[in-house]
Each structure stands twice: as structure tokens, then as C-alpha cells.
Amino acid sequence: MRPRSLVFLVVLFSFLQEAAGQTATKKRILPFDIQQKKMTNGLNVVTVPFNSPGLAAFFIVVRAGSREEVEEGKTGFAHFFEHMMFRGTEKYPKELYGQVLKSIGASANANTFFDRTIYHMTGNATMLEKMFEIEGDRFQHLKYSEHDFKTEAGAVKGEYTKNSASPFQQLFEKILNTAFDKHTYKHTTMGFFKDVVDMPNQYDYSLLFFDRFYRPEYTTIVVVGDVKQEEVNSYADKYFGSWKRGTYAPVIETEPEQTGTRFAHVENPAFPPYISLNYKSPAFSDKDKDLPALDILTTLLFDQSGDLYQRLVVKEQKARSVSGGPFFARDPLLVNVAASVVKAEDMQYVKDEINKALENAKTIPLDPQKLADTKSNIKYSFAMQLDSPDQIANSLALYIWLTGNPESLNNYYSLYDKVTAEDIMAAAKKYFNNNSLTIATIGPGEVGNVK
């Protein structure tokens, strides 16, 4: 894969692509043993020993993200709560927590997405017990004042503010809000700005949020690196053993079937024109072939040696880039096809050409060699990412939040082997459907003007 052009650096959904490729071999894709232990309280503990002398990655995956924000006015709350997790406990008030974290010398942070929140620390493996201790403490005994809560809300607003400068971020917010009516994927992980501004008033709700989701049955610990399973399990017992199960399960509304093309637009004459076609996609499954079929198709369609790229970007130079791929998500979300367009007047043309390629994919079987090459591309892309504990833990975390089971990584990749040219045509027919499409544009006019 060649480097992408400058404009690609900020392309929407870019980080999804790291997950959106990958593989298929007869054997398991991950060349390391995944050692799991389910504790009696429901906490899953995953250990992957890896040759990284003195180094360990310690990840905690909580299967609660913006998808779980089911109540009106509470959008962005999972992400806000991630911030609150750094506000201390009785044993380790925030200043002391900061000092301990600093003394560990780890790279530590957290992030939230639709389906999950991840807390991660990568550092000195000899400090593993301390990592367990401080994390066990805050996951069970988080305690913050109402003032600290209100104060932290300002930082979240600051995060929204810095993100909002990007037209892609503005468009992404509109795409979700347009494409979804009922499901919580209607809002971004940041949340709607009005809810972000109202956050300081939600202290009581934050206590409820912690009580609901920061529970062992929502959580998996992943440790990768210079560690042994017995050591990891004994620390898990010691520091998370008395964590109590919860009782809450959110009711997330199913999105009704979309019945016509929808439109989202950001007016910005000072930004390169951009078009993005967003179709409803399948939920993640490690058993069903639809998602790997879409992944193979989009990997191939938008590769730089592919016909579409060669025509639009290289020969005609009407577009600066074409790219796309499906979201990996617990519920049906979007498969996206996007292009940065050179001139705004060519947006319709670029859209029509992309549409033709998608229509062709429904009826013309993929060349067998191209199919094999794409599977190889996906497999090797993944294999080459596995050279640090952090990267391996990140790969596992994805499948843990999708299904709860890290073995889904191996299961999912084994599906690629089974995908046929017919499967790909069937998936194209099923998902690239105008009734489930949201056309999103960034352009100089008040409306996108793309049909």
C-alpha cells in the first residue's frame, strides 16, 4: 500500500481502516496463544505472552460506549465518563493517582467509541502489580466531588471545540444524525453539543452510569507482553476478585429499515469538495460472511491499482482520493465510500462513477486472482502489524468489544478463506441499495446538489 496523499491524512473514518482489512489462513491468524480465564464475577482475563523483554501492555475493555447512551439528553456521556475515571478514589485521590501513574512511567490513556471504552497502559512489565492495583481501585471505588465533575465537563467541551474545526468531524456528526432515526448510532461518541454544554448538570446521572456499566460482566482485562498467565490471573484475583456484578442491561432501539436516500451537507467554500456515500452495513459477526465480503470488495475497489482509482484519480484527475470500508460495530452501522473531489462541479460525475463500480460489483464476479490477491493483502497487512505488545492488545481489544470473546479475531479471519465471488456479489446487492443510502457532501453551496 502506498502512502496516501496529503488530503487523505484527514479523511473521515481513516482509523477504521486498520481494522477493516485482513485475512484468512487455514490456521489461526494470531500466531500467539490467547489464554483466557473467566472469573466467577464475570470478569474475563486475557493473557498473551509475547517476546518483549521488560515490556507489557495492560488494557481494560469496557463494553459500554455511545451505543449505550439510550436516554434523551445524555449523548456523549460514555466518553465524558471516561474522563471522570481519572478523577481519583479515596485511596488514590486524583493527585496521588497522577503521581503513581507517573512513577510507573507508562504510556497510559483511554478512549471511547460507539461500542466501548478502553483504558490502556503500556510500560515496564515489572510494574504490572501496581497497574492492577490502581486500576482495580478506580474501577471499583471511583469517587469524585460534584465540583470535580462539573470542572471536567469543561475539558470535554474543549475536546469538542478542538475537533469541531475539522469539516470532516462536522460532516460525520451530520451523517449519523441523518442516517439513523432510532438507534443510538444517531450521535457521535462526542455527543451533541447541546448535551455537552449541559453535562455539568448531570452529576447524579454519572453515578448511575458508573453503577450500571463499570461492572465485571461488561469488562475484559487484556495483558500482552513479558508476562505469565499465572501472574496475571493472581493479580486479577487479588485486585478485581471482590468486584460485584451489576444488573443493568440497556434496551437499544433497533433502527427501522431506511426507505429512501437521505442527504447531509456541510457548506464550506474554503475546503476541498468531498463526497461520501454511506450505506447501512451488517453488524459484526464472526460467523457470517457479509462483513468480510464487503471488506474484500471495498479493499479491492479502492486500491490504487484498481480501475476506479486509476480512472478518477490518475487519468482524469477528477478526484484526489477514493477510499472506503465498513464499520466494525455491534449493530448495523455504515459502509462508507468517499472521494475528495478536485472541482465541486465534478461531484455528481464522481458519484456516478462510484455508483457504476458498485452496480458492477453486483453482477460481475471478481476475477479469481484478484480475489486471492486481496485475501493475501488483508492477511499480510495484519501480520505485519503484530510487532509490539501495544499493537497486539489493540487488535484483541477490537474483537473483545465486538463479541466479548478475543477468539473472535481468529474466527473472523478464518471467514475470509470462505468468501467466494458469489458471496461478494450477494453482499453488494444486499447493502449497496439506494434506499439505505445517505449521501454526504462538503462543498461551496448551501446544499450538496448531488443526486
Partner: protein, 520 residues
Amino acid sequence: MKKILHLVVFLLAGSIATHAQELVELKQPQSNKVVIKLMFRNGSVSDPAGKEGLTYATVNTVVEGGTKDKTAKEIQELIYPMAVNYSASVDKEVTVFTFQVHVDFLDKFYPVLRDLILSPAFAEDDFNSIKSNQENYVDQVIRASSDEDYSKMALEDLLFRGTNYQHMIQGTTSGVDHIALEDVKEHYKKYFTRKNLMIGIAGNYSPAFIAQLKKDMSGLPDTDPVIPKPGKANNPDGMNVEIISKENALGSAVFTGFPLDLTRSSDEFAALMVANSYLGEHRKSYGKLYDKIRTTRSMNYGDYSYIEWYKNGGSNMLPVPGVPRNSNYFSLWIRPVQVAEGLKKQYPELNSIETGHAHFALRLAIREIDEMIRNGISKEDFELTRQFLRSYNKLYIQTPERQLGFLMDSRFYGRKDYIQEMDALLAKLTLADVNKAIRKYWQTKNMFITIVTDDSEAGPLKKALEENRPSPMSYSNLVKTGLPKEVLDEDEKVANYKLNVKTVKIVSSKDTFKPPLKGF
């Protein structure tokens, strides 16, 4: 005689030394891949005046184009099943081509690598596409994507005005416009030779492979490129503020800095690293700036300080290799804070404020540096910060690619292994060393400051800064009521803290990156 003449020309041009084809090896037999890095001691400093962006255009035409016997499309088809990953990064003083290939395909891929470097195609179509994207970036993308990156680039534009360090790596609008394919070909021949190449290789490769690579790379031109001496940062007289006014900005994105005559080459760097980490470690909550501006006062998403160039701070949590520089500066990154227009809408109690939070945040940050200059840091803070850094620095090199990159950068700075050597320096560092380095290298009287903000904020902010008006912190009632007395007392001091502001200029977004460049 010819050699002597050459040397004279070399010295007269004020050039930096180049070293022929150094090799850095990192053998890792257990790895499933091979990483090859080709670092040329040449970057955007060699862009000719009027063709700013030429090095970037050249390197991208090479790396995104074809070779003497393969088109770009044929290369893409060949490498598609291999998932080979290759790219090039251009910085001010170095360019690094990085190739990552699975061992299964090393032999099959290698001719592509060789031919890209030795006989790039320089096809017209490839060049046109690169140039168009580059124009798009300097004209639109940089101004309209991230106000923080925009502010950072604008700061460099001020710091290095009139030097070959001033323009963005990607160039300027008029510079890119004047680049022709012939320039690109000529530039490659002149500035990418075997004499300024360092080869790096990591992973699972054979001695025969490295011998072949070295032999082939000696096929590059045998000429000594004359690389211009890197421009030094200007010393501002007082605080010089540039406010970049934009439509519809939600916040004020602030960068500020001053020249710093210190790099990783110096042993004192370790001392200043401790001071800097204590003040504002990148993307960490432990720094004083972060603690006071974000954690305590809820003003923004984060606040950090730097004693060297940090690439893509918005997305990188750890520093990346491949961007070593001789011309250094100290900087503060204050992430976007609220503007008055937004605060008024959100909180009725703030409906009479004239400016948002930028002035207060800036004062607070400057005051923190002054406190450190006046009082130094404590023994306890010194020990804890040193302990942190001795562990944290090792995380810079978690992958073979990073490890190799940092080793190669070490050579740039005249070191063998920067990470190891810094650890040794940190180990023997004393508190006195740190406090001495703070006093020696930091000051707050003379700084450049850039603020990208909303057009509604620009005018009032300019006035407030110029007149050194008090800037009381405008909290919402929600936050204000719970603040402890010591915070409110400190706010009072911050709000009235005198800044040595000499000039404040408002620049419209469309007029940035346009000042006339003096001859290099």
C-alpha cells in the same frame, strides 16, 4: 586541487557536513519482516527561494510514481498481494524513505525499492497529481482542518521568517505553483546522492541482502550535495502576537515559542527534558500546565510544552523518529479555549464579557514558566519526573521501525544510541543541573505567539493584549461556586500578570503564509 576548491565552496556556502552512505543495522532474526530506511541529509531547507515545496514534490513524485520499467500502476499491482508498506517523510533537514516488507516477499519486492530510488520514472501524470494535492494542502487543507496545526505552522512561520526554515515542508502557494517537472528531476539528482545517504535496516535479513542493498545504493550520484545551512530561529523583541482571524471558529488555538540553542546532541538536553516533562509532558496529565489549565480550571482539552519539534502532536502520543533538526525552539501548545461569543451563548451570567479565555490561559502558562525560572523545581518533583522519563523514553522504541528510526536520528545528532545515552545522562543528573538548565535556556520576555480564533474574538483580544488589561477568568457559575480559595487567589494573580507584549497583529486567514521571503 579540485578537492580543495570544492571544500572552499562547501565552507563558503555555510553548508553542513554530509557523510557518505552510513549504515545502521538492527538484526532481529525472530521478526517476520524487514524494515529498510533510507535517510538523506536533505529536506525542505534546500527548496530554492520561489519554489518552496520542491523537496516535498520531488520526494513524493519518486515514492508515488513508477520506475524506469514499471508504471506506478504496475508497481501497485505487483505489491498488492504482498501488502508492502512504503512511504517517505520530508522534514526540514532530512528525508526518510521507509519500506516495510514481509520476509516472504523481500526478494520479489526488492527490485521495486532499488528502481524507485535509482531510476524513478518522474512521469508527467504522477507529478501533476502530486502537485495538485500539494497546492490543495497549502491553499486550503492547512487553514481549514485543525486550528491547532494551523497555529503551530503559523508559529514556525514567525519564528523562522526570512530563513529556509520558514515555509511549511509542503511549501507555499506561489512556491508550489512555480515547480515544474524539470525542477523535480534536477533536484533529485542534485540533493539525493550516495554522499548524503544513511542506510538503515532492521528485522530478519541476510548479510547477502545488506551487501546487495549497499552496492546498489552506491549507484546514486557520486556528487556531494551542497545543503544550505539550516536557518536559525529569530529572536523576537518582546512578545510578538499574531492573531489569525477565521470565520466560525469555536475556540482560540494558541502556540507560543522562542529560539532554543540546544538539541539532543547536548548532554544538557537531559536536564531540560526533566524540566519540560514537569512543565508539560506531551499528552500527559502530569504536567503543571495541564494540571492548572485543564484539570483545575476546565478550560480546554490539554496544555503541553516542547523543547524540540514534535510531529503530529494531535495524533501521536509518543514522538516519532525521522524528524531530527539542528534549529530548535521551545514551544507551548495551549489547546483551543473558549471564545467570548460561545461563552455568552452558553452561560447567561457571562453575557457581558468581551474576550474569551485565551488571554488568561496564556498568562497562566507564562507565569508557570516564570515560577520555574525563579524557584526551580523541588527535589521530590525532580526525582519523580526523572523516574518517569527513564521508563517512558523506552516506549519510544516499541517496534523495530521506531527502534531503527531513533538509532538513525542518533547519528544525526552525533550520538550512537540516543535512548540509551539519555537514560545514562538522566541517571547521573542532579536537581542542580535541571534548575541551572531552566535558568539558562528559558525566558518569557521575548516570544512569538500565534492565536487562531474566531473573527468576533480577534479585535477584542488584540486590544486586551496590547493594553495588558486584566483578564479575570470567566467561569460559569457551575464551576465557580465550588472552586477553592487558593485557586481563586491564584486566578487574581494570573489575571493581572504582566506580559511583555510589544506587538499584536490581526491577520486574515487568507493572508497567512504569504510574507515575502528574504533570500536564503
